[in-house]
Symmetry: C3
Subunit: 394 residues, 3 copies
Amino acid sequence: MAIKFPAQQELAPSNEISLSNVRHPQYGRYLEEYVPGQLFVHPRGFSFTQSNIDSFSRTYMQCNPLYLDLEYARAHGFSQLPASPQMVFNVVLSLGVQNDSEKVIANLGYYNAQFLAPVYPGDTVRAMTMVTDRKERGADKPGIVTIRTLGVNQRCEVVLQYERKLMVAYRGDRLPTTPLSSVALPAFPWQTEASVKLPDGLATALRHVPTSVTGWNTYAEDFKAGDIIVHNNGRTISDEHFALTYQVGNTHPLHYDRIYSSAQSGPMSGNPIVYGGLVYAWLEGLASRDLSENALWEIGFTEGYHTQPAFAGDTVFALSRILAVSDAPGELKDLASVVTVQFIGVKNITSAKALEQYGADLFIKENDKKDLGKEKIKEKIFEIERQLLIKKRG
Amino acid sequence: MAIKFPAQQELAPSNEISLSNVRHPQYGRYLEEYVPGQLFVHPRGFSFTQSNIDSFSRTYMQCNPLYLDLEYARAHGFSQLPASPQMVFNVVLSLGVQNDSEKVIANLGYYNAQFLAPVYPGDTVRAMTMVTDRKERGADKPGIVTIRTLGVNQRCEVVLQYERKLMVAYRGDRLPTTPLSSVALPAFPWQTEASVKLPDGLATALRHVPTSVTGWNTYAEDFKAGDIIVHNNGRTISDEHFALTYQVGNTHPLHYDRIYSSAQSGPMSGNPIVYGGLVYAWLEGLASRDLSENALWEIGFTEGYHTQPAFAGDTVFALSRILAVSDAPGELKDLASVVTVQFIGVKNITSAKALEQYGADLFIKENDKKDLGKEKIKEKIFEIERQLLIKKRG
Amino acid sequence: MAIKFPAQQELAPSNEISLSNVRHPQYGRYLEEYVPGQLFVHPRGFSFTQSNIDSFSRTYMQCNPLYLDLEYARAHGFSQLPASPQMVFNVVLSLGVQNDSEKVIANLGYYNAQFLAPVYPGDTVRAMTMVTDRKERGADKPGIVTIRTLGVNQRCEVVLQYERKLMVAYRGDRLPTTPLSSVALPAFPWQTEASVKLPDGLATALRHVPTSVTGWNTYAEDFKAGDIIVHNNGRTISDEHFALTYQVGNTHPLHYDRIYSSAQSGPMSGNPIVYGGLVYAWLEGLASRDLSENALWEIGFTEGYHTQPAFAGDTVFALSRILAVSDAPGELKDLASVVTVQFIGVKNITSAKALEQYGADLFIKENDKKDLGKEKIKEKIFEIERQLLIKKRG
């Protein structure tokens, strides 16, 4: 289709300038704008490509060859290099920011995340969110909103589901934000008994793939409940995180607009804060060589808390504590184990030094410390429980 | 073809070092090296890939799903995820830098840019430039050179044409620069009545694509002449811009070589200056959620001026003023509008505060201010008039 | 294959925390852990994609269209855009870091690198290393280990081979590192008379590709022994290098963990050091417009030394001295030449000023200076001898 547009003429100087029709579009929602039962279908599906999949894995220091080595992925029955579940989580959460959290005061936690199917190059993932609860705590106090979010691919398969709790202020007399869509909305297929779709050839592949020369210390047999693994290397985060925020589709200005971040009050004020999903991604990567190099899948995670923000210049480190190891269900029983890991992040102190200095207290949830008469750990930035499906050495 | 090369032997220590054959290759041109009628075919075609297309959109904070969501692009008749016209502009201008502007003192403005066809992954774009005018202003004063540039794909279709004015110094006794090619040069198919090639299926698609749940405030009907839109979010630019300069193929050392930039005089001296095309790209992205999320095409722009440089550390913001809205020509008449927008960039002040502080003056061209007895606005960095083809809500 | 995993329950608070099973996984090797004859098959093959190939070329400022312009590459008989040999070198070296050098004190030099076959999008390269020599220099002195490394694609073709010398400390009572694999290891096909696989169509293509309008000063005829080329543009390196280290697969914390780098002693202490492969890549890019824009292949290099580290904030520059020019062997004899180049890097001084200040001494190897009664050049960061296959103008 060819369309002739007339040559463009300069218009501005002859157009009278009036300040009577100024608008300030707003996104996100304030407390009274969330209603339990509401469904948001988020804008801007995210197309996964070999490129952004590969780039994510390498940026966040992934060492599991499943996400780096096409031949390895294929040998395990994956049709292409899959996106790491960590990337899928980052993207799906980010797609929801405009509706879910662009005006919230704080992200209180992640719960019940489950990765339900691989995402491959060529897939486009969209996200939708249901408001499941709103707790008000009286005038002038922010309330607590609970949401459930789904990531859905172009074949309408759910690839990820998780819950978040958010601390949200009242709108009061501030500008209105994103209106609810008037478009008829789809169903919201949250699964309570989640079933994970893994490659058909996986079990057969595992019986035939020779023991790799890699990952000598990360087979299922290498982990038992009670083990603590000190991940030695840290990562100094730079201003790179401004750009990385939008790379995963996150629109929140706290992460890339220094004038916005400087205008915040309290511990969030100052330089842009690293988007928490990116912090988790780096921590996961830093641990991957010692923990998940032989993982076949990230089953999910729960009880995830960013206990301090991270900024450009910070160096982050990770520690893992094995909570449980059990045989995988179904036909993978003899081939893989489910390993549950308490996963901790600290900053500006090596994980070895943090363990030396704080000992067992590192593994006590920060929110429980007050009741236990304990001090919070000022270098601790993250805590979560992860479930990994890890290959047995056999 | 197998070739045996003899094993490499160390040569340097036994090779006498002479300083009699030293050369300093130079690129760009000085004033007397431009002659109206000259044609430069620029080196290094740029191959667009799904990867660099996707990465550009995300780096510069694009919110129009046409450039992010393959399913959405296909639903509108595009065969693949197209490169954003902004990227095409950045690349074509950059390809020309070596011949056109690597020695210029200042980029005075962009004019009559028209995007004539989509660029897709797999396309390779080359650029050529014709010198159309050279104004000398007397001894010791730089002159003004006007050029026209075309971006051309591997099927010899022009995808972009635009004009630039450049301020250029005399060469005098400096080293000679890039010689004119002795290769026979192609024609220069500049179109005065430009015809834009859009996907064949676009009109049909627009009649059948359901109203999206996205972009509630960015349909053609949401804009009328006189509207001012304050884009709230800013972007803090980091040193990332050194690398981004070459990512689009721009070879000018002012943007990545601190020793070069520090040796400049006047307001350009100091840290490397952000390449103007990147500044425009970030401003476009910052506005995209409020302005162009439902755009189908960037028709073109004119009267584009970088009124101040930007540096790493600066936070940039955008404002839009709607100048005109009219039905699209031809078969898109009922389906889309042509929206003409005066588009302004400021730095280190939010767009809301800039509007509060400077009011209507923000929209007066900086070059007109002296004649109007007005001060220039020190935070203003960019002004241009854009024409967008925007979907009607219908 | 669908697997039902039970919903994840929080476990940490009820799991007693014991510090009796803490481990600190270590990678790399100390002196007594290398044994001549040992073979390491390195973990984590690297899948080359159009995306990481394109991104590498642009990040490191490549100007040879062979690595940027798909149409150009095809016209020369390459089936796709090949990875630049520089990228292949960076990746293969990085893949070996975990076994070869993650605990070494210093990288003493690169020798006898030969690029034996193109690497294309879709190829996965793995690396293996053989220890060829270990020199001990007495108690409390680090020793010298010599290794040979191969990069091998998924069809078991060797794409690169090179040697390195490393300075390595004794382990003593430190923690053990990577054990030797117990898996049966493959052969190690090092070639003494290396044969390079170039595209079958190359010779025919060279006879028919018209002289390009690009690279007017970089045909084989433009170089003769004794020429010195001053590459004018520098590149200011930013914190970007933290991330770029892992982009090529390098796991060494010296390059991205400020707490680790600050804890080092001597000139390596302080901010993370730029991985040397990246420094070389930038230097190569900075020179490419003056030297290798018409190169058809990087044959190899030898005697490569990083004589000083580079840090974020440094601006690097390159100089070339032509050591020899001879006809290519075999059927390319009339079409291309082998150009041997002494290639020098300096920092925080332009190459022009460095030449003015140090003259011929710039081209004397730093290690030879003591014997010659000369001072080392404090701004010099790199020296190497490269062999390029460069097109004749004909």
